[in-house]
């Protein structure tokens, strides 16, 4: 991760996005946070975004900590705080959809889980709102009415900084 970031910076990139952080659980998230620390130390002006894999950090190990905080089980608000402490400039929460429930149900769930994060964030929150996350239906070409409703609800109610 650090090597890729160094290469992108050398090529003239403005920043890097660590996407789907924590997809393999707490050790994956810890590795990302440590990589962000190193990249920030090496490139103070680089934009660093950390986008999450889900609304809940899986405890595949269970006891891993970052800066004194156990990573297993963290929700978006606590995820965002650690991402900020590591040195990222943008946080991307992700909430997976339940494909057996309606669009309205998934929008309500997404807003409920992310609201505590966006209310107190000190860095921009760019939520993941696409196929299967952020209340957008789980398909390659999501229906536009469902996307626009999820998009607008996230911006109006969560006061997001980006999508």
């Amino acid at each position: 991760m650090v090597q890729v970031a160094d290469g992108m910076w050398a090529a003239g990139a403005d920043g890097i996005d660590f996407d789907t952080a924590g997809a393999a659980g707490d050790a994956d998230f810890l590795a990302t946070l440590r990589a962000v620390e190193k990249v920030r130390a090496a490139h103070p002006d680089m934009g660093i975004q950390v986008g999450m894999a889900g609304e809940f950090v899986l405890g595949m190990h269970g006891e891993l900590e970052y800066d004194g905080v156990r990573l297993a089980g963290l929700r978006p608000r606590e995820q965002m705080e650690l991402v900020r402490r590591a040195g990222a400039t943008v946080f991307g929460p992700a909430v997976n959809v339940n494909s057996r429930k309606s669009g309205a149900w998934n929008i309500a769930r997404t807003l409920t889980l992310v609201k505590p994060c966006s209310d107190v964030a000190e860095i921009p929150v760019h939520m993941n709102v696409g196929m299967g996350v952020g209340a957008v239906p789980m398909c390659s070409y999501p229906p536009l009415d469902a996307v626009s409703r999820a998009s607008r609800a996230c911006v109006d109610i969560l006061r997001l900084d980006g999508l």
């Binding site: 910076w9 003239g12 990139a13 403005d14 920043g15 002006d45 680089m46 934009g47 975004q49 400039t89 943008v90 964030a121 000190e122 860095i123 921009p124 929150v125 760019h126 709102v129 696409g130 196929m131 957008v136 070409y141 999501p142 536009l144 996307v147 626009s148 409703r149 998009s151 607008r152 996230c154 911006v155 997001l160 900084d161 980006g162 999508l163």
Partner: protein, 111 residues
């Protein structure tokens, strides 16, 4: 294509057509939240935060300040700034370090 278009229409800032790229730069590089980023960019451009999402208003502002426009290319408007030339101006306007501009200066030997 459908999903990005739906997002752009429902909640976007029109990107380079308006001032979405400038606000995004303040978020990405400075970690500013959107309200602060919009206020900063609007103050620098001498417009209101509401103007920043208006492609018609911003086309004029970007043209006057040579910040690059989506319809501006070397072949169609040879006397206007585009691409990296516009990034030099954007960095100066926003008082922001832009990596590719810094690299260009280093490699071209431009102070």
């Amino acid at each position: 294509m459908g999903m990005p278009v739906a997002h752009a229409v429902a909640s976007g800032m029109c990107g380079v057509r308006a001032a979405g790229d400038l606000v995004a730069r303040m978020q990405i590089t400075r970690g500013m939240r959107i309200r602060a980023a919009k206020a900063y960019v609007a103050e620098r451009l001498g417009v209101t935060p509401g103007d920043l999402s208006d492609p018609l208003a911003m086309a004029d502002v970007r043209g006057e300040r040579q910040l690059g426009r989506i319809t501006t290319f070397e072949s169609t408007y040879p006397t206007e700034s585009s691409a990296l030339e516009a990034k030099f101006r954007i960095g100066k306007l926003l008082d922001l370090p832009i990596n590719c501009v810094r690299r260009f200066r280093e490699r071209a030997g431009v102070v």
